[in-house]
């Protein structure tokens, strides 16, 4: 069982594993692996705690019902699975500022959290605008040869590569 304690696997092994997992999720649950709808539902459920049932009347939440569903459990499972893997290999660390960030922008945690917040707004908004994320479009949609997913995945990387280069050039 040594390989469970390894910190990193070959990216090909991890990728093939995810591919096989997608066979099983199509076969057993009739659903593709995808994540971002869960964040929209959670956002609506949190808003509902404060504002009540009026939130459920919003057209978007008529389309995406505010309930804990299969995909919500999938995302919760990702947190657990990642933690199990990290704990088995001793790779679990609480960390505010990732090292690639601190090399360019310093180790101020408040700055990193503020920038992550802004980035989170863009990615949450963009994921719902495009109707999918790196898993729903980027992996599950492209493997079904969906035109919407190939266009989205290309734009994720075009936008991401351009923005990352601009951001890190600011650091000099």
């Amino acid at each position: 069982m040594d390989y469970l304690q390894e910190i990193r696997w070959s990216p090909y092994l991890a990728g093939i594993g995810i591919g096989v997992l997608s066979w099983l999720s199509f076969l057993i649950s009739k659903k593709p692996l995808a994540c971002s709808t869960t964040f929209a539902k959670s956002s609506g459920m949190i808003e509902k705690l404060f504002r009540g049932d009026v939130v459920e009347a919003k057209p978007y939440y008529q389309k995406e019902k505010l309930a804990i569903d299969w995909q919500w459990m999938l995302v919760a499972g990702i947190i657990i699975g990642s933690m199990i893997s990290a704990l088995l290999s001793g790779d679990f660390h609480w960390q505010w500022v990732p090292s690639a960030w601190s090399l360019s922008f310093g180790d101020n945690a408040a700055l990193r959290v503020a920038v992550a917040f802004v980035g989170g707004i863009c990615i949450g908004f963009g994921a719902r605008w495009a109707d999918g994320c790196t898993s729903g479009h980027g992996i599950s949609g492209t493997m079904q040869l969906a035109v919407s997913s190939w266009i989205s995945a290309a734009c994720f990387f075009i936008g991401g590569i351009a923005a990352a280069h601009v951001l890190f050039s600011l650091a000099g």
Partner: protein, 189 residues
Amino acid sequence: MEAQRSKITQNRDRKQLAWGMAFGIAFGFLLQKGGVTKYDVIIGQLLLTDFTVVKIMLSAVLTGMLGIFIMKNLGWVRLNPKSGSAGMNIIGGLIFGVGFAVLGYCPGTIAGAIGNGGLDALTGGLAGILVGTGLFAAIYPRVSNCILQKGYFGDLTLPALFKVNDWVVVIPVSAMILAILFLLERAGL
């Protein structure tokens, strides 16, 4: 009779929620072992210094695609491609891309990053995604019938677009993925 039927539906739903959790645990495990629950690896991909993300995604797509199209031919699964439009996928994709670079995680890997101990992911990142998706829900009525419909093409797939058998696309796409992976390895990336 009615009560019994609703009980059966309830049991099936509960079973599916358990499957969702099981698939999630396996997915999170593989993402962490692959290294993509870490900011450094994801930002390295977008800065084109570390190709782990592309290697994982392409090998997942290759494996997944071959399996699901074989299962589709056998009649075991039905595919479920997402509908799209130029207005949705190009504009949304680019906004997503900018967020991907600024945040350094995507919606799936941020869950993995939280499990790996990433506090930037758990605080600012998660809060930002919840605010961003909430903002979209707020503006949705204003965009749903105009910009999101621009250049609408529905749930089109590449084989349907080219009016060919699935495998006429699956085989060249597989070859292209293998060629890209081969070239990345040969370039030492």
